[in-house]
């Protein structure tokens, strides 16, 4: 048996090699639309050589063979062949030499750099194109206005490790898989959460999709799946599916929906109806179809990049605005190139009907709620400006992306607030907000709504994607530009600062309330600014756990309680004079200890036997703490507490508020000053 064959890359040699594999008829191969597309595609990638590996065991075909083909009298076995494509001229001599001596490391590097991918050839008469992974056009990877989903496929060619960044494509065999099955198969390959080795074959997907009866082969041949069956197959793969009906969407809305998902690394199955373009204004309905959307181009002329089993991988699909039917005024054309590498005139158009996206199981909210929330905030902004007669010269825009919290945190940690346009105050404000955000706990998956004002970064809203539609899902607002964020908050707070106004406005917009997290966002705005904890943090410092416990402070595993401890929740009868009656003037050993606890209560006591602040608080987290003493006949407080006040940047600014607290609590007239504590 021939171990392998190498030919110069030409359409006739490619067709001949395919014919060589399992004796397919040359005209069938040569005239096949997919072969034509793949040939032109590879020609564009400057393919020079093709290597045929005549015997290859492909997991996907092996499964399909086991499920159906094995019982065919004329079946040609379970073995497949594989074609490898290179943008470098190779020959038998150099490959033989490499395999014999394994000395030419440079050649291995060259083979890898020039590897364009592979195509499995199945032993089937007409539908022989199996798993095909081809490198996308460089422009698809490098252009800033394009984005595509890709994964790394590792290839072993006679022991030579090769790899290609791609998403697997294959044509429907019209027996164990129809177009909807192959679309899902490619979508599973594109999902970064799925190990490539565990992706089921097309026959398994079809069996899972239909009401499977063990041992029955009546599922095949399969001509198509309903949406319900397709969703069932996705269920079996333990993905969460989200179905969107798009037949009434505009091309712009549809493209935006594609962008949100591709930007989130989520593959999309697109279903619709094919129309033949007879002339500029005449379209003939043909059949239904499904493709996998793997990328997009967003510029003056938007486009999608799809795996279309009628054509090939990474097919460019442009929008065509035309009156296709009474209520249909746009569709997607499938583009192909001619021999001179120019785009041919499209002869078919796909009118989208629905899209299905696959997310991780925990992502229970589709992007719909995130989109609605962002649109409603935008609507509120525009309307508030309008009713107040303010020109809408500053546009509020947004983009949406599904992200994991680790990625969000990493990005937030790396924000350079100065570079984002903040002045010194803004930098400090954003940094403090960042600290709060990073040290809080969140669910793993979030829809991130990134708002820009006048084209510049403003703030992000995080919507917990694992929440329920009725939930309070806005988990954080991340400030990127203080002034821009504040301008929006100030504007919206005209509604939120008066509960009656807000309630009466929300009452009239029930759909906004029900199908978005607008209320959750508006509540969050209030929480962020006015919450009691925020007040305590600002006035008395963030909570600190006591940094250590002295040996004198515990006995037989019990923490000592300070018997002199008194907690002052608010104004009361006991006077300051009474509390401080035992303090001796100018005696360093005579002082009281105090602390502001978690709830903002002032606690005062004496330090007995070296039992300090933690015995006042019960060893619980607290805020600023220090000493109260008499010096030259005047009362002073400082922040001397190694356990609580030790790592505040400027503890003195909290002491001013602590003095106010003393005055609030005690009814008599007295004066306290602050003294800076230098450890």
């Amino acid at each position: 048996m021939t171990p392998y064959l190498i030919c110069t890359f030409e359409k006739q040699t490619l067709s001949n090699l395919v014919k060589e594999c399992f004796g397919s008829l040359f005209p069938h191969v040569y005239n096949k639309a997919q072969i034509d597309y793949i040939f032109r595609y590879l020609k564009d990638l400057k393919c020079k050589s093709v290597l045929l590996e005549p015997t290859y065991i492909d997991k996907d075909y092996l499964e399909d063979y086991n499920h159906y083909y094995i019982k065919g009298f004329n079946n040609k076995g379970f073995k497949t062949a594989r074609l490898h494509f290179f943008s470098k001229e190779i020959n038998h001599k150099s490959i033989d030499e490499l395999l014999r001596k394994n000395k030419n490391k440079a050649l291995i590097g060259q083979l890898n750099n020039n590897y364009l991918g592979f195509m499995i050839v199945k032993p089937l008469p007409k539908t022989f194109i199996g798993k095909t992974c081809l490198r996308p056009y460089d422009s698809l990877i490098e252009s800033s206005d394009k984005k595509a989903l890709l994964r790394k496929y590792k290839v072993d060619l006679f022991g030579i490790p090769l790899s290609v960044d791609s998403i697997a494509f294959q044509e429907q065999d019209m027996i164990v898989s129809a177009y909807s099955t192959t679309a899902l198969w490619s979508a599973l390959h594109a999902s970064k959460h799925r190990d490539l080795a565990t992706i089921p074959s097309c026959s398994e997907i079809t069996i899972n999709a239909i009401n499977y009866i063990p041992g029955s082969k009546n599922s095949f041949p399969n001509s198509s799946l309903t949406n319900k069956q397709l969703l069932r197959a996705i269920d079996v793969e333990k993905f969460k599916h989200h179905l969107f009906k798009v037949d009434n969407s505009s091309a712009a809305e549809f493209h935006q929906l594609i962008e949100y998902h591709i930007n989130s690394d989520i593959p999309i199955i697109l279903r619709g109806t094919i129309y033949e373009i007879e002339s500029e204004d005449k379209f003939v309905k043909k059949n239904d179809h499904a493709v996998t959307v793997l990328g997009y181009k967003s510029s003056q002329t938007n486009a999608l990049y799809i795996h279309n089993d009628r054509q090939g991988p990474f097919v460019r699909s442009k929008y065509l605005n035309s009156k296709i039917e009474k209520n249909i005024d746009w569709g997607l054309t499938f583009q192909d190139k001619d021999d001179s590498k120019k785009w041919k005139k499209a002869h078919e158009i796909l009118v989208p009907d629905s899209i299905i996206v696959l997310t991780k199981n925990k992502v229970r909210l589709s992007c719909e709620y995130a989109v609605n929330t962002a649109k409603f905030i935008q609507e509120l902004y525009d309307t508030l400006l309008k009713v107040n007669g303010i020109d809408k010269t500053l546009q509020l825009t947004f983009s949406i992306k599904l992200k994991e919290i680790s990625e969000i945190r990493k990005e937030v940690l790396e924000y350079d607030f100065q570079a984002l346009g903040n002045d010194n105050f803004g930098v400090t404000y954003c940094q403090n907000k960042r600290l709060k955000f990073l040290t809080n706990s969140y669910s793993k998956h979030h829809w991130v709504l990134e708002f820009k004002l006048d084209g510049a970064n403003s703030f992000n809203i995080l919507i917990d994607a694992t929440d329920i539609p009725q939930g309070d899902a806005v988990s954080a607002i991340i400030c990127k530009d203080y002034i821009r964020t504040q301008a929006i908050i100030e504007l919206l707070s005209n509604l939120t600062k008066d509960e009656n106004i807000l309630e009466s406005v929300l009452k009239d917009i029930p759909n906004y309330e029900e199908k978005s997290f607008l209320t959750s966002f508006l509540n969050k705005l209030n929480d962020e600014e006015d919450g009691y904890n925020t007040y305590l943090d600002t006035f008395y410092g963030d909570l600190r756990a006591p940094s250590y416990l002295k040996p004198e402070e515990f006995d037989r595993k019990k923490i000592n309680k300070n018997k002199t401890r008194k907690a002052f929740y608010g104004r009361q009868e006991l006077s300051f004079k009474e509390i401080t009656k035992d303090l001796k003037n100018n005696d360093k050993k005579s002082f009281l200890i105090w602390a502001i606890n978690q709830e903002g209560t002032l606690i005062i006591g004496s330090e007995i036997n070296n039992n300090g602040h933690p015995t006042l608080t019960g060893f619980k987290p607290a805020r600023i703490a220090g000493e109260l003493f008499l010096k030259d006949g005047k009362y002073f407080i400082n922040s001397k507490s190694g356990r609580y006040s030790g790592d505040y940047d400027e503890p003195e600014r909290y002491l001013v508020n602590v003095i106010r607290k003393f005055k609030e609590v005690f009814p008599d007239d007295f004066e306290i000053k602050t003294q800076k504590y230098i450890p």
Partner: protein, 54 residues
Amino acid sequence: MSVYDLLKAASEMTLTDEKISMLKHELKLADKKFEAESKKKLVNEEFLTKIYCV
């Protein structure tokens, strides 16, 4: 208009009764439009079981 001007205008803004009713009117219209669009996008059993064939 600069962002500072917007911030200043927003902080000096007062929602009078007249403005509130204008705001409610505008938002009500937008809400109705949204409701109509949502209905068109509703996925029902018929859509789920629609037969697709080659």
